[in-house]
């Protein structure tokens, strides 16, 4: 069934889009990740203009992270105070990111910005994940025990001013690190169309030393608001949010995530993580090749409107 995407301005097969949403939803359900960092490149590969892919994916993440956030909320696994502090940074980052996006769009360099951000972040995340999971698999085979970090350890973060008490996270720390984390995540949401959980969750665990049970819920809580703001900003400044595409992706994603969550119970976590790492690196290499190999068509045209 062909459907015309009004903002991307092209006809696509609705079932292919639903299938893509389902496949990425399956992976995100399986691995417990947001999936935005896989969905946006997939949309770009299938011919959606990169600027539209990013803004639309932010719109989809609003919906998919809300259902996750609500589930954590019911279990009381959301540190609202920490979420709001992260959100302050997220708002600043979103405005900055969308402004940068609009500026580079007028210069014709936004596609490059998106591609470079993806190569950089997917490369780092995929590489680290692969190293980590290979190490764990290796240790499991040789029978050695993994040493976990000791909670309560102090680091340089505890020396910063403007301290605040976060009861649910059992922390008394400066608000500067969470705000900075929020800013970075807001910028990433604006220029990559991702929730940013893959940056925020490790940062909350290793830098802020938040207890792991509230990390995912708090991160999802912040993502709902940041991606919502990013969607509104992209819609009003760049007119690149395709609501029809976002809705199709959401439907596919919700269904896929259900199957993914069930499938994950049948596989070992470490093998799954290695698999995800390989996939992330494959996407990274594919985008990098697009930048390095001479394209077939060197010219492109962009309409600047009626004259």
């Amino acid at each position: 069934m062909q459907i015309y995407l009004p903002i991307a301005e092209l006809s696509v097969n609705a079932f292919i889009i639903l299938g893509m949403g389902g496949a990425v939803g399956f992976l995100s359900g399986m691995f417990g990740v947001g999936g935005g960092f896989l969905m946006t490149p997939l949309l770009i590969f299938s011919g959606i203009p990169p600027a539209v892919a990013v803004a639309t994916e932010a719109n989809q993440v609003v919906g998919s992270s809300l259902s996750g956030a609500l589930a954590h909320w019911r279990r009381g696994a959301v540190d609202i105070k920490m979420g709001l502090v992260l959100l302050v940074g997220g708002v600043i980052g979103s405005f900055a990111g969308v402004a940068l996006f609009a500026k580079l769009r007028s210069l014709g360099q936004v596609d490059l910005l998106i591609s470079l951000s993806y190569v950089l972040f997917l490369g780092i995340i995929g590489g680290l994940m692969l190293i980590e999971s290979v190490r764990v698999i290796w240790r499991n085979r040789t029978g050695k025990k993994i040493s976990f970090r000791k909670p309560g350890q102090h680091n340089w973060i505890h020396g910063l001013p403007f301290k605040m008490r976060f009861r649910q996270s059992k922390l008394y720390i400066s608000v500067i690190p969470p705000i900075i984390i929020g800013v970075i995540v807001g910028i990433l949401a604006a220029i990559m169309g991702v929730g940013g959980g893959f940056i925020m969750v490790p940062a909350m665990i290793y830098l802020l030393r938040m207890p792991t049970n509230v990390v995912v819920g708090t991160s999802l809580f912040q993502i709902v608001f940041v991606t919502g703001l990013v969607t509104v900003l992209h819609a009003s400044q760049n007119q690149t949010v395709d609501a029809v595409l976002a809705l199709l992706l959401l439907i596919g994603g919700v269904i896929g995530a259900q199957f993914g969550a069930r499938a994950s119970q049948k596989f070992s976590g470490e093998n799954l993580r290695a698999l995800l790492a390989i996939m992330v690196l494959a996407v990274c290499i594919r985008i990098a090749l697009g930048l390095l190999i001479e394209p077939d068509e060197l010219f492109s045209i962009t309409s600047l409107g009626r004259h």
């Binding site: 062909q2 459907i3 015309y4 995407l5 009004p6 903002i7 301005e9 092209l10 006809s11 719109n59 989809q60 609003v62 919906g63 998919s64 992270s65 809300l66 259902s67 609500l70 589930a71 014709g108 360099q109 596609d111 490059l112 470079l116 709902v224 919502g228 969607t231 509104v232 900003l233 992209h234 819609a235 009003s236 400044q237 007119q239 949010v241 609501a243 029809v244 976002a246 809705l247 959401l250 439907i251 919700v254 259900q258 930048l291 390095l292 190999i293 001479e294 394209p295 068509e297 060197l298 010219f299 492109s300 045209i301 962009t302 309409s303 600047l304 409107g305 009626r306 004259h307």
Partner: protein, 262 residues
């Protein structure tokens, strides 16, 4: 003296008016175009793959001798003008990125030439250029950038890319004569055209000269759900953004309710 000058002036005007009116009259008596479009108002459903409009007409001649002479018809359809930037990728620090750019300020968003035979057989270049007939004779008001380079041919690339999108085309055998006087032309309009006022010019050529021409307007509109979304996103962009988020939130909430029940 004043009266004399006035009379002379009046006479002069009379002579001018009569000579002016005589020119079209003469050609009118020889041959005249009568054309019409199948539709002056074309509404495209956005999810539709495009449409075809039919132009039909007749060459009215006062004698059978003139009617039998060889003639050519050229139909030019132009969409509303837009401003376009053409960018060219170059390798910078090992990466292929947009480097050079050129802006064209008067680019028809749609342009089609449909004729009875190849344009270079109908008339010579100067005549065709004067009427901007043919893809390579379009004047696009090039605005040269500091970074631009004449060697890299931005204008031909613009025309090539527009043709690739189906928005520019030349059909050298698109006008068919049905007998001596009646002719018809098919003009294909793809789904990705801009909305607005289009012009349809019909030229009658004889011996490499334009002997009659006629212009008629055409309005292209788009309708349907997709068009509604497009208009909302561009005219009420803030409201559209808020609605898009609201829809996503509703879908997410609905999903969490449905999945909890299971």
């Amino acid at each position: 003296m004043n009266v004399h000058a006035y009379i002379l002036k009046l006479l002069g005007i009379c002579v001018m008016v009569s000579t002016l009116s005589m020119l079209p009259l003469q050609s009118l008596q020889a041959e005249e175009l009568v054309t019409d479009l199948s539709d002056h108002l074309v509404a495209i459903e956005s999810n539709f793959t495009g449409t075809e409009i039919l132009l039909f007409g007749a060459v009215e001649a006062d004698s059978a001798r003139i009617r039998a002479l060889p003639r050519d018809i050229v139909v030019v359809v132009r969409g509303p003008n837009e401003q376009l930037v053409v960018r060219r990728k170059e390798r910078r620090a090992g990466i292929w990125m947009n480097a050079k750019a050129e802006t064209f300020t008067k680019v028809p968003s749609y342009y089609a030439v449909v004729s009875t035979r190849a344009l270079n057989l109908i008339a010579d270049d100067t005549v065709l250029s004067r009427h901007e007939i043919g893809l390579n004779r379009l004047k696009l008001n090039e605005k040269r950038d500091k970074t631009s380079n004449t060697e890299a041919n931005f204008k031909t690339s613009l025309v090539r890319l527009k043709a690739k999108d189906g928005l520019y085309h030349e059909v050298p055998d698109g006008v068919t004569f049905l007998g001596d006087t009646l002719f018809r032309a098919k003009i294909s309009i793809p789904a990705n055209v801009q909305v607005g006022y289009y012009t349809t010019e019909v030229f009658l050529f004889r011996d490499g000269k334009v002997i009659h021409a006629q212009t008629s307007p055409l309005y292209i509109n788009k309708s349907g759900f997709e068009r509604f979304i497009f208009n909302l996103a561009h005219r009420q962009s803030l409201l559209y953004g808020i609605l898009a988020v609201a829809f996503a939130l509703f879908a997410g909430w609905l999903a969490s309710i449905l999945l909890r029940r299971r």
